[in-house]
């Protein structure tokens, strides 16, 4: 596959093939050493991050519209945010312009994204339930779900572990360190 470019007549097709090939390698978590010279336009990591920071800076400026800038002798509440937003845009542009030194975007490894997504989703559910169910129930469920759903651990040991560590933590905080924890519907 790395020789595909030699057999392709158009550089853009070669780029497309190489990029999809290397993206599949990246998903498989393999180390990459690629050379995509000759591509018409190679999207690099810093093109993406540079564009993000430019957009973020513009967004801050837009949101700062109603904040008074004041003047040099009496700076207003919008004075400093606008300066920093302009600096962010400037540095974003520099980053994007010098993106040639960064990795090719398609070759970034995202093989841990599924793990990250699941952890975020389960933790978000726990955060949403935290004030309703309280510390004990929410965290026992959180740890149990992480162990069973993500780590594929057997249910019984995972349940014993999750209830055990949450109970020990509760005793440690509430009775030894005298730090109250969020109570649930049953008062604990």
């Amino acid at each position: 596959m790395p020789n595909a470019r030699k057999t392709q007549s158009t550089p853009s097709a070669a780029c497309r093939d190489d990029v999809s090939y290397h993206r599949s390698l990246a998903w498989a978590g393999l180390e990459l050493s690629v050379n995509l010279e000759g591509c018409l336009m190679t999207l690099r990591a810093d093109h993406v991050t540079g564009a993000f920071f430019i957009g973020f800076g513009v967004l801050v400026l837009a949101l700062s519209g109603d904040l008074p800038t004041g003047n040099l002798s009496m700076p207003g509440s919008g004075f400093m945010p606008k300066i920093v937003a302009v600096l962010t845009i400037f540095f974003g542009v520099v980053l994007a312009v010098r993106a040639g030194e960064s990795k090719i975007f398609a070759t970034l490894s995202w093989n841990d994204a599924k793990h990250a997504g699941l952890v975020v989703g389960i933790t978000a559910a726990a955060v949403a339930l935290f004030e309703w169910l309280g510390f004990l129930a929410t965290n026992a469920l959180l740890i149990l779900t992480l162990l069973v759903v993500i780590e594929r651990r057997p249910l019984l040991p995972a349940a014993v572990y999750s209830i055990g560590v949450v109970a020990i933590t509760y005793v440690l905080f509430v009775y030894i360190l005298k730090t109250p924890l969020q109570a649930g519907p049953l008062g604990f």
Partner: protein
């Protein structure tokens, strides 16, 4: 000088009170564990455990939290040497030669040298802190807004300059942090800024949710349990003592690391990380056998480990004397003291001598405790690493939630922590260091207020920063650093920082 000695004696009477000594021990123990465990650094550790100190008095709280801080510097070396995994960022350089020594059967000697170096760096650092901080606090009383502005600008520029990865990336992170730090009510005019009608954002975004999200949760998201490494070299107790040759090779690097670490620690930025990188570079440069670096050079362990501990102590100088947080960690410590009604700054030494001197004296005691803890109990700490990561990280997530929620009893803070976890994950993907972001967040309110006050004082004249001797000196140093960085950046010339980064990359990938 006599009054300093008398005050220090009073500090020892406070630090050696059984309750205070117990909290110093507890802090050192927890800190060592925090340093040993990959994925939970000192910042996340301190932030998570902040609520635990709510039931303590101010002296006990700062003694315990500082113990966690410098304890983690000690603990970080254990995983670096035995597993080639830096427990926290400042131990990255120790991985290179520490693990190589372990592979050659000298794991015990490497651990001993790291522990002794850390102790020397920490203790000498405290000695200098004892002498320097009180007079500096007297000078700091004369600091006005222009001086504070110039000092904070220097801190940001120094951090960007010292970053071996990229000047622009560091500055972008700092800008992002500054913008986050401006969310909430403007102290000078009362305007709500970027709070989107959320009352919880009126007070701004806290350091704890951001720090725990970026460094705690972000690290977990980037580390699937299948990728956790478990190749641990177990040292034997009888092999702990280094040979005479190894002591000789370690002596000068320890001395250099102490001086270098303390000086860098005083300057705002991620001092303990930068100091260990610089120390490694210097040791390799001055070594008669530079080719041994990467293959188990004693100096490659002694220098960086000493420097990061000395820097941790040095970072307390601006904290105690000026009330300026030079790193996210010291910012959390300031927050902890403020929760207990103690304002940090030039007046601390006079208004709260128990807190100031008790804290300083506890650092002598704590460093000794760490030496005792880290050598004989190293096997015990290694046992913690045998807990499967799959069981460990759910526990860390739980502590992240408790730690963030308990500070303000705010679920919005926990959501911010979760969002910051995702941001931290993305930043790692795109090779951004999140530390400058947290530093920007920390200094944003002080920087903005002092800049605006300076301009009001001078009726809008920027030359105020160049018309007062202290701020002039600080601004000139900033301009000099910017000129050096710009020279290398524009001409794409590989200066010493780029060469150091290349060498580090090559060696850590080896």
């Amino acid at each position: 000088m006599e009054s300093t000695i008398l005050s220090l004696a009073h500090g020892f009477s406070v630090a050696l009170a059984p309750a205070n000594a117990w909290y110093a021990f507890l802090g050192c123990l927890v800190g060592t564990l925090v340093g040993v465990l990959p994925g939970i650094g000192p910042l996340a550790g301190i932030s998570i455990l902040l609520p635990v100190t709510f039931g303590l008095n101010a002296t006990q709280a700062i003694i315990m939290l500082a113990g966690i801080y410098y304890g983690s510097q000690y603990g970080g070396s254990t995983t670096s040497i035995l597993m080639r995994i830096p427990g926290e960022a400042s131990s990255v350089m120790t991985c290179i030669d520490g693990y190589a020594m372990a592979k050659k059967g000298r794991a015990g000697a490497a651990l001993c040298i790291a522990a002794v170096g850390s102790w020397v760096g920490g203790t000498v650092g405290v000695l200098v802190l004892t002498v320097v901080a009180p007079p500096l606090a007297q000078i700091a009383v004369s600091f006005g807004p222009p001086e504070y502005t110039a000092l904070l600008v220097l801190g940001l520029i120094f951090l960007a300059y010292m970053s071996s990865s990229s000047l622009i990336r560091t500055l972008l992170m700092a800008c992002l942090g500054l913008l986050l730090g401006m969310i909430g009510i403007d102290n000078m005019t009362g305007h709500f800024r970027y709070s989107f009608d959320l009352a919880e954002l009126g007070d701004g975004i806290g350091i704890v949710p951001v720090a725990v999200g970026l460094f705690g949760l972000g690290e977990i998201l980037s580390t699937p349990s299948s990728g956790a490494v478990k190749d641990i070299v177990s040292p034997r107790l009888r092999d702990l003592l280094p040979t005479g040759k190894e002591w000789n090779e370690a002596a000068l690097p320890i001395a250099r690391g102490t001086v270098l670490g303390f000086i860098i620690g005083i300057i705002p930025g991620s001092a303990h990380i930068i100091s260990s990188f610089l120390s490694y570079a210097i040791e390799r440069r001055v070594s008669k056998h530079p080719k041994e670096f990467g293959k188990g050079a004693v100096a490659g362990v002694a220098g960086p480990e000493t420097a990061n501990n000395a820097a941790s102590t040095g970072a307390f100088v601006p904290l105690l004397a000026l009330g300026i947080p030079t790193s996210p960690i010291t910012a959390v410590l300031i927050g902890a003291l403020m929760i207990h009604g103690v304002s940090v700054g030039p007046m601390l030494v006079n208004e709260h001598p128990d807190v100031f001197w008790g804290f300083v004296a506890s650092m002598y005691v704590g460093n000794l405790m760490l030496l005792v803890l880290n050598l004989p109990l190293v096997s015990l700490f290694v046992t913690v690493l045998r807990i499967p990561y799959a069981y460990l990280y759910p526990l860390i997530i739980m502590f992240c939630i408790i730690g963030v929620y308990e500070v303000n009893n705010s679920i919005v803070d926990v959501w911010i922590m979760l969002i910051m976890g995702v941001v931290g994950y993305a930043l790692r993907k795109f090779d951004f260091d999140p530390a400058p972001l947290v530093l920007g967040l920390v200094i944003a309110p002080i920087l903005e207020q002092s800049l605006r006050q300076s301009l009001i004082m001078s009726n809008g004249n920027y030359l105020i920063f160049f018309s007062r001797p202290i701020s002039l000196g600080l601004m000139l140093v900033s301009i000099g650093l910017l000129a050096l960085a710009a020279n290398a950046f524009v001409l794409k010339r590989a200066d010493w920082r780029a060469r150091l980064a290349e060498a580090e990359t090559g060696e850590t990938e080896r």
